[in-house]
Structure formats: C-alpha cells, structure tokens
Point group: D2
Chain length 379, copies 4
C-alpha cells in the first residue's frame, strides 16, 4: 500500500526553498517507503513571475503571492517557512494556530523574544514544530551525537567551533537583506552562529554563559549601510562544566562554507568539517592495550550501519550537502505520521528559541564587556 499524503505549503522559493523542495521530491522515493508522501500544494512568494516559475520547476500545484492563502488552505497539513527572517514569526504562528504543522528555517526569530513568542504560540497550538537546523542531520554529526550519548567520548571537556565563509569579503559586494538588521536580525551570528550554537547544545549540552564580541569590518557597501555583524567571537561555558569557543565570520578568504567543530572528552575526541561532511575524525583512547597505532581515525561515514545510510548507496559513495534536508524533513514527516517527538534528534522551536538566547547573550556581552549568564524561559 502506498503511503498517505500530506499537503505541503511553502513560503519562499530562494536558496532554502530550493533545498527544501528538493528534499520533498527526494523523500518520496529515496527514504522508501516514506512515512508520508508530500503533496506540493502551493508555494508563496512576493514576485509573481518568480513564484510561478518556482511552482513549475519544483512541482507545486499552485503559485500564490500572499502567504495568508497558505494558512487558510485546507489541503495543507504542513507549512514550510523558508522565507527571510522577518517573515518567520507571523506566518509560522498563523499556520500553527490554523492547526498546521510547521517547519521554520533558522534562526527561528530575529531575537530571543521573537523566537520565544513563536515557540510559545506554536506550542499552544499543539502542532508539530521543527526548526530547520539541518546540520543535526549530517550522518557524521549524528554519529558523533550517538557516540557521545553512548559514553564513548567520556565526560566532555571542550567544544570548539567556527563557521567561516567569505562571500561578503569584497567591499564592493552589494547590500542584501541578510546585511540589514530589520530583515535579518543579525549577521554572521544568526545565520552561521545559530547553527553552531545548536550543534553545541545537541552534542554537549546547555550553554550557561558566554563572553564575546561582534565586529562589522565593512559598514558601507554599495546600496546601503550594514547594521549587522560580519563576525563574532565568543567563549562559552556549558552547564556540565565544559568550556570552549564559538566563532563565525563571513570575511575569511578561502573558506567557502567551513563549519568545523572539535570535541574533547575524557575518553576521546571527535572533529568534523562541513566541507568534508562525509567524514568524521574520531580519536578513541586506549582501544587496545599496547596499541602503538593510536591516532585520529578518518571515518568515512558511509557504512550500512551509519545514521541515515539505510536509504542510500554502497559504502564510499558519498552524500552531498542537500541530503541533510532529506534526512531532516523525513524525520519531521515520520514524527507527524507517528504523532511522535521531534526531539531529541530533531530541533523543535524550543531549540530554536534557546539558540536565540545564546546569540542574544553574545550581543549583550559584546556591548557590556561582561560575561553574560543565560537564563532560559520555560512555557
């Protein structure tokens, strides 16, 4: 018997809209049988021609120009919000309150307050909610999490992560919405830092305090004034005693999409690099008495017993960046189908909110010059 359908309405058709659309289409046959078969009902966007083209390209039945139509469409069971950051709150809340499950791109809100509000009202609506921290769904990252969970790395001492890109290093690069505070909320912090903060929480635990600073190296660009950060640096402490650093920058020559982290524990270490996302470096202490061949293992995460690999290829036939979305959205569809939990392997809106609290604390610390303790609100 073929799987049941779920109607999907999407807001946004740009970078993330393309990535999510690809995931819906791929899930249908790759994660076979899919928990639910996505029916691409409608896609919304401001530019009428572009959204019509996107609908035709990705196979949405209907292009629309006002996202409100998605919320009132009874065929839609899942609202996927890939719009810019200033369009996260209102459509997501409206869809949730209309009884639709919601998937929202990160950062959940432009501030912790906004993120909290999205979480609060969505949770009250009792729908499934997921914040699209897709790097939790890299097989190597999930393997790291499972190894840590199983105690193989021991007590965690350190977490160090940096997310480096270079796309705005040219001072002549023109203004885009991502460089405007009203629309984006923040710069490298919310865009790149939020990912790393989420991974810190996913892999190590809750962050208790931060010291940091933000920098805008190039404030004036063709087309406008940049009022978000180009980069930030921070020291973080975790509730479990671990300590480390989190950094991000968009001005690092040669770094295309270079998110890396290293975790050191009392029994081993793991290292990950996003540009080689099929690999995990693992050091395990004392795996064999008298072992003279100890060293970081270059694990090509592509075996049948590795996370998510039951759907794919024989070992060594590597996956790409886009597959993280296939895994992520498959996870959400499974949760919806089974009335299960997004957590702990998926990030829900509370996770989106908590990441925002850490990002806000880095901004505060940059301004006050003080180590900022973080208190998380509950519902």
């Amino acid at each position: 018997m073929d799987p049941q359908q779920i109607g999907v309405g999407m807001l946004g058709y740009a970078f993330m809209g393309k990535a999510h659309s690809n995931a819906y289409r791929t899930i249908e046959y790759m994660t076979w049988p899919p928990p639910l078969r996505p029916a691409l009902v409608a896609i919304a966007g401001r530019n009428q021609d572009a959204v019509a083209e996107a609908a035709r390209r990705y196979g949405f039945a209907e292009p629309i120009s006002d996202w409100r139509a998605l919320v009132t469409d009874d065929r839609i069971g899942l609202l996927d919000n890939t719009g810019p950051n200033n369009l996260h709150a209102e459509p997501t809340i409206a869809a949730a309150e209309a009884g639709k499950h919601v998937l929202c791109e990160k950062p959940l809100g432009r501030t912790a307050d906004e993120a909290f509000e999205i979480w609060r009202r969505t949770a009250a609506a009792e729908v499934k909610h997921m914040c699209a921290f897709n790097y939790r769904f890299v097989p190597a990252v999930r393997l790291a999490r499972e190894m840590i969970e199983a105690g193989e790395i021991g007590e965690i001492y350190h977490f160090r992560a940096r997310y480096l890109q270079e796309w705005i290093i040219d001072p002549k690069f023109e203004m885009v919405w991502r460089l405007n505070k009203d629309e984006a909320g923040s710069g490298a912090l919310g865009d790149l830092g939020a990912h790393v903060v989420d991974l810190a929480r996913f892999l190590v635990g809750e962050i208790s305090d931060v010291s940091g600073l933000t920098r805008t190296f190039i404030s004036d660009r063709p087309g406008g004034h940049v009022d978000v950060d180009d980069a930030f640096e921070s020291v973080v402490s975790f509730e479990n005693g671990a300590a480390g650093t989190i950094e991000a920058s968009r001005l690092c020559h040669g770094r295309r999409n270079a998110m890396t982290f290293e975790i050191n524990g009392s029994k081993g270490s793991v290292v990950f690099e996003l540009e080689r996302l099929n690999e995990l470096q693992v050091y395990l202490a004392g795996s064999r008495p008298g072992d003279r061949a100890q060293g970081f293992r270059q694990v090509l995460v592509s075996e049948a017993d590795h996370p998510f690999w039951e759907w794919w290829w024989p070992q060594g036939h590597i996956l790409g960046w886009e597959h993280t979305f296939v895994h992520e959205i498959h996870h959400l569809l499974r949760v919806i189908a089974d009335d299960g939990d997004v957590r702990p392997y998926g990030a829900d809106f509370e996770d989106g909110y908590r990441a925002a609290e850490v990002c806000d604390a880095i901004v505060r610390s940059s301004e006050t010059g003080r180590r900022e303790e973080i208190s998380y609100r509950s519902l």
Copy 2:
C-alpha cells in the same frame, strides 16, 4: 513553455537502476529547464515483485518482466540499460535497432569483441549512444579536463590511477554475479578498471600499450568458485608519450571507494580522490614571479563558474556521488534534444569499446608476460 518529454524505459532496478532513476527525477527540476522532461514509461526486471516495487518507488508507469517489451514500446525514446554485464549487448542492440537512443552501463561489453559489436550495430542504427562512464561528470574531473585542454598543465608526462575497494576482502563474502566470468566478463578490471581507463583516455589520450597482471587472491567462496580477477596492476603508455600505471583491487582494507588519479605535466599537476569528489588538487608552476607560496591548491570545486555548478548551490555546499548521474543523463538529454554529439565530454559506445580493448590487453599481458600493443578497430 515546459520542455518536451522523452519516454524512458529502464532495464534493471538494482544499484545502478536506483542511481539512474534518481537522476531522471532530479533532472526534471534541478537542471532547469531540462532539455527534455523524462517520462518514466516502464522498468524491466526478472523478479516480478521487486520490479513492481521499483516501479512504484521510482515512479515508472509500468513494471514489466521481459525487457523485449521495452524495445517494442513506442512511447519509449530512450532505453537505459542498467542490467548486469551479460545483459548489455542484446537489449541495447535491439533497442538501437528499434530506433531508440541508448544509454548503457559500463563495461559496455564483457570483452572488446562484445563491446565492438554493440558499438557497430548501434552506430549503424544512427541513434545516440552513451556509455555510462559517470566519473567524467564529476565537476572536479571535468575541471581537470578543461584545464588540460586549455594547456594549463602543459605536455602530459604521467598518469597514475588506482581504484581500490574492500567489499570482498572477507573470504566468507558469498558469490555474486560480479564474481562470475560469464555474467561479469571480468572482476576488478571491468568494474573498476574500465572507469580508470576511460578517465585516462578522457584526460590524457589514447593508450598505446600495456604490461600487466591480474590476481585472484580468494578463489573459493561460499556459493561458488571465483573466476574473475580480484585485482590487476598495469603499466600504460600513451600515444602522446605519457607513461603511468593503472591499478584496481577489491581487497584493500580501509578503501571504501577510493579511486584516485594524479597527472603530471610540464606546467603543473592535478590530483583527484573520489571519496572527496568535490575537491581537485592543482599545482600550477610559476603562477607568479618570486612566488614563495607555491604548493598544491586544495580547490573546492563548487564555484559558480565551475562545471555543472550553475544548477546547484552557493559555493561550498558540496555535491554527492549520485549527482554525477544527474550531469551525465542531462548531457545525454541535451544531445538528444539538440541532435548534438555525445563526445567529447560524454563517452559514447566507441569509448566503451576502446576501454574494453585496454582491459582485454591487460588480461593478455597477464597471460603472455609481454607488453601488449593495442590496436583499435574502426567502423
């Protein structure tokens, strides 16, 4: 206006059938607009339940159990043969002679004679024919080819390549068709070696002679006797004077899917590793007078001006192994739509045949102990 359709009939639904099916489905929206929109008409295979499941999974309208029905189906414009090696010749020729374009997995034939026959009769039918050497369609490999073509590497002195896997290293691994000469033709030679021979020709030029040997380390396995090679080693000479080695083995612990090559020329060198297929290492001599920072460049092949990247993501968001098929089949559809040429960037059946001549010569050399010159037949 939406692109025109082409009806696709597929033979085989296993590893390669899955990879090709994924490509047809992805082309439709990723290589937008596609040159032709693939309509998945029918899929053929011996196991009725499995082929029915495959049809449902990948979206073929009809599962059939006799490939002959594909050949007579008027809705089908392209026969895609992903069956085992002993099913390459007959269906491919029949489809071509029925006026269908044909795509056939490698190795084209189990021997050079068989491959020649497939080429001869297909060419006579005046349809488009393509041998599925998908590694030509790795962006990094194509970039290497374009750099060599543009003279950036200079006169080529060396080509060294090895394709190492480990999947049959356990002596208890059971017999499969790939270990049986009747079905597979050869072992590592036709399966892995053919890929490397094709890349040698694609990147450097025609091979003029070879010295080599083959080895079967584990002859008796549960379920039968292995009569193909586990590994081969060879020295190759090229018509243009370059010299090098080509090797493959399926008994290399730790090597999941490790095809690597290195090319050295009078102006530079390039190095490629399939397990990190998004990267190309490039050495360019004398790029700057007085340059004290000369070294191999780790090029992450993911820029807007890199081959095939106009369809994908922002830089650094890497592709997977499966995307080689998307590029490959897109190329074929473009050729069909435009009545263009599969060559030089795609491999046609002559390329499939020529690779087979080299593989056969390695077998001969292994037996005779002599350097074997290769003479290629023409039509």
Copy 3:
C-alpha cells in the same frame, strides 16, 4: 678564518636544556660559518649526578650545582636559562647585571610583574636579551610573518589559535612542577598560551583586550593538589581592529602537540599546524584573473628561498621541531656578534613581558567576568 668563540653557561639540563644544547652543537657546523662559535663552558643543575651526566653528554666542560657560579665565570658571555619558571628571574637578572647576554626560556616570568622586573633590570644592564619563543623560528611561521609584512594577506581581520596537548589527561598522572603555581606560575596558560600570545603579537600586532576563562578539570592528582589551569579559552581584540580567539588545553585526547593558527585578511589567509611544521597553508585571493583553481595552497616550506633554508637540505627534505632552536640561537649569536637587534624577528624580554601581560589579563577576566583592557608598561 674560523669564527670567534662565545662562552655559554647553561642553567637546566632537562627538556629545554637538551633542546638548547643540541642547538649550540648544531649551529657550529650547520649554520656555517656561525656568527660565533659556542664554547660550552659550564652547565648548572641541582642534581649533581644528573648534571655531571648532562655535561658529559652535551659536551659542557664543567658541571656545577650552583648557578651563581655561572654568573661570576668570566669565560661565559651568554647565560642560557632553561630552568623551571621560578628560576627565571634571579639568575637571569644576576647574569645580565654581571654583563652577560641572556637567553631565557618562556614564560619569562610567572606573572607580568615578575616578567617586567626581569626586563627592566636586564635592559638597564645593556646586554642582549632574548626570550625563547622558538616558534617564531619555524620556517613556515617566519614565511607567514614575511608575507603579512609585505602586505600579501592584506588588512588582518582574524587570528584564531589553539595549542592542544593531552599529556595530563589521565587523572592518575602524577604531580610535577608544571602543575604547581609557585614553581610554574600558571598551567596551560604560561606554558602553551604564552607561545600563542607571542605568535599573535608577532604576526598580527598588539592585543588590546581579552575576555576569557580558565579551567582546572582535574584538581587532585597523586602527589598533590593542582593549583594551575588545565585549559583556558579567550576572545582577543587587537589594536589594529582584528579579533579572534586563543585557547590552550592539556586535556585533549589525540592532540600530541597541536598548536594551530589561522589568520584571515582582506587579501588572503594563512593556516599553520605545528605537528606538520614544514607546511604552511596559504590562500591568496585573485592571484590570476579568471582563475578557476583557487584554493588553499599546501606549501611545503623547504625551498632555497624560504626562511632559514640556506643552511639545510634540498627541497622536500623536511626539518624537525628541534631546528627551531637552531634558528633561534643562531639569531641571537648573530645579534651578539654584530651588536644588532633581537627584534623584530626575535623576541626580547619586552616581548616576554608583553605576553605575560596578556596571560595575566586572561586570568583577571576569568575571575572578574569582564573584558579586560591591557595596558603595557614602558621603561
């Protein structure tokens, strides 16, 4: 004509004493002709048998048990202090005030105050003084410095460095002087952090403020209580506007001696790893118009025109860690012979003092929770 001699008196014969002794013996014939020929006059240490053995082994004419005898020995022109941190101040100052040139291991003092006092009194004595920050003398590090100085990396945005070791990760590892505050001053901070702080200053410029924290994960060890840091984390700002992080830890499994740094500027980036000290990764933007082979270059720093390589081997025949001391001490002998300047390529005692100010500020920030501005004292 053979070079003139300089009498060397050494304090300490352990790890650093061995490394320095090796350098004196090697300089004599490798950095040929040496600026001065070191005559190993006497070596001082507390354990009489051990110091006698060390003298015999390394070729010092005389073993002595009281360092004061070094200071009054007229044959000695250079006092080399490789003793533990609590023996840096008194012997170094005494030697300087006796008119001897002085080389002192890092950290110069256990605190900024102590380091300042050593600097002040030594400078007043008008002898040459050098603080043994040997990593300035890695060829790859020096190349990085020269490229930055020449403007090839542009305006610097970021400096990120970490120095990770693992040697005390076993809780059963016993107390040693390096874990005792009275003797060592601090833990990872003064031992590892001082190196990185010095490189930050050497490569990027003066540090203006820091936020940080220190951690002692394992306080009780066989043989005593640890009262120094196992690790520290910090965010640093530079006077020129650059921002980054500096970290060190002795509890990182798999990290033998892993000092790494990355510098990003407006024109390029450089990356260095101490465990591969013969290599420098360099990214240079826009080296060629239309260049599709941009990437980090793996520069094997071993060419004739690379720093220090005029003394060594043909390209690719790599150097070891110990050679940094050969280069360092050669530099000092050249400075003494020519009455030249230790700076800018060598670190003098002001550099030793300034590193100590930064380390102290990290401790203060850890305690106060505030970003600490650093004010450097002058003479």
Copy 4:
C-alpha cells in the same frame, strides 16, 4: 665510563656527506650513550678547497684529496662512502679489504654486476657492511615493518609505491653527474627507485618478477645529453604472492620529495608519505566488534614506545629527514660495537645488490617488453 671511539673516514662532502657528518656529530650526544664515539679522522674529495672547508665545517681532523689515503689510515675503522655512484665500488672494496667496516650510499653499484662484486669482495673481507637505505630508519617505516612482522596487517596482497620529485622538470636545468650514465648508472631508477625497491623488500618480501618501462622526456640539456631515465613505471610480483607497482619520476610538478607507499593486507593497511615522515596511516580491520568508527588512523609516530623515540623528545615534537641518518649510523655503530648483524633492520650489501637486480630487471623489461623474472645470485 665514556664510550670507545671509532675512527671515521669519509669520502665525499656534498649532499650525502653533509647528512652523514651531521649524523656522526649528533649520535655522540643524542643516542646517549653511543655504542661507539665517532672520531672524524679524515674526509676525502677532489676539490682541495672545498674539502678543506668541509673538514673545518664538520670537524674532520684532516682533509685529503685522494681517497686511497683513507684506506691506508690505521686510525680509521669505518669508511663512509658518500661519493658519486661511480666511486662506490673501488674505494669501498679497497677499504673492506684493508679491514675497515664500510658504509656505502645507495645505489650500491651502477649495475647489479657491480653491486654484486662490491658485496662479494666486502663479504669475503669479513667486515661489517651497510648500504645506506636510510628510509628503513624512519620511525614510521620501522613501525610499519614491526606491525607487519607481528602479523597485524595479515597476509600482504598489495604494495604500491611511487617516489616523485620535480627538480629537473625545467628543460633548462643543466647537466649534472646524476644525469650521466657513466657516473650515475641510471637516473630516477637508481636514485629514487632503489629506495622504493629496498622498502618493498624490507616490508613485503622478495620481488620475483617485474614488467616495466623507463622514459627520458628531456634528453638534451644545457651542458650535455642525458642518457639516463627521467622516470620509470613498473608492475612487480613478490615471492609471497603480493602484487603492486613501483614508480619514480623527477618530472612531477609540486612533488618536492614525495615518496609514498601503501600496503594492503588481509587484516589491515598502512600508508606512508615521506614529506610527512612523522606520520603513518594505519587501518586495522575489526579492532572492536560493532565499531562504527573505523577508518585510517593518522598515527603521529612520536610516542615513547615508537621506534627510535627513546632518544628524542616528548610526543608530538617531530623529527626531520636528517634524523634517519642518525638512526641508521647509530645502528651500524651498535652492530660494530657488538659484533652483531646489520640485518634484518639495516640493509647490508646483499640488500644493496638485490635492489640492483630489481632495477636492472626493470631496464631489461623496458627493452624487451617482457615480464622479467629475477634470479638473485648467492655467495
């Protein structure tokens, strides 16, 4: 008590003379206590000024211009022949027949015949003889040997090695003795290939047959005609059934001194790269049931229990290329002191001869086009 002395006479003061001289001087205090203390009696060379300078630089008591004086010098117990290849036979034999122990650079002879003659007459003289295959004394290579010996890699299936350099890639590079057959015997083959052949024998076992070819890409150079090979390629079979390839070239852009090998066995694999000589990559199958973190281990060979490390530094403080000679000559001095065996860890003249047989067979195969079986002569 201090170790006994042994008088050393050296022939040659160029690249290898410098490397060996450094070793003698270093052994004295680093491999403490040395088995014998080298006394540098005399150094011989044709250029009187240069040899005088070399004597002064390296500390030889006496420079001489005729090597025959070394042979008759009673103070000399060890003749170290670092001269050009055409000066290997006569002085080495003369010294041995005068009762001196002999160390001779590789290749032992310019042909197998010459090498055999050196071995035969030296062995008859009943002195210790060693052929300077220094790469046996890289700690990582020795570790590989010990692991293979202990069965940790299992039955060996493959050995693949290449030794790539680039120093003569410029056609304007002028003639030197290494490009002249009379003086050098062969080109890349004897210079680079001999090293790799020796490692093949050291690590895997005796080579039984080869197929190969040699190439001279640039025959005419300023100052003369090149009559040796620029490069060679070969397929090798081992007596134990293993198969592989051995290659070398001096025309590989970007390859400074790139000797690499890979060995695959039934239980694991090892990989080595000379430009990162402190590292060994090791894959061990099935080290832990259910292990999901299998991969090549990047072993930094610098632990206290690693070969040769008892003499050096704390872990992670890497060695350089030159240290291979320290280990090698220390081994020889130990053998002389103890009247022990150069084998199996050192290479004696039989090893030098056997490597020459393989090199000769590659030349023969290149000429005949046939796989050449190798028969080794015995005494």
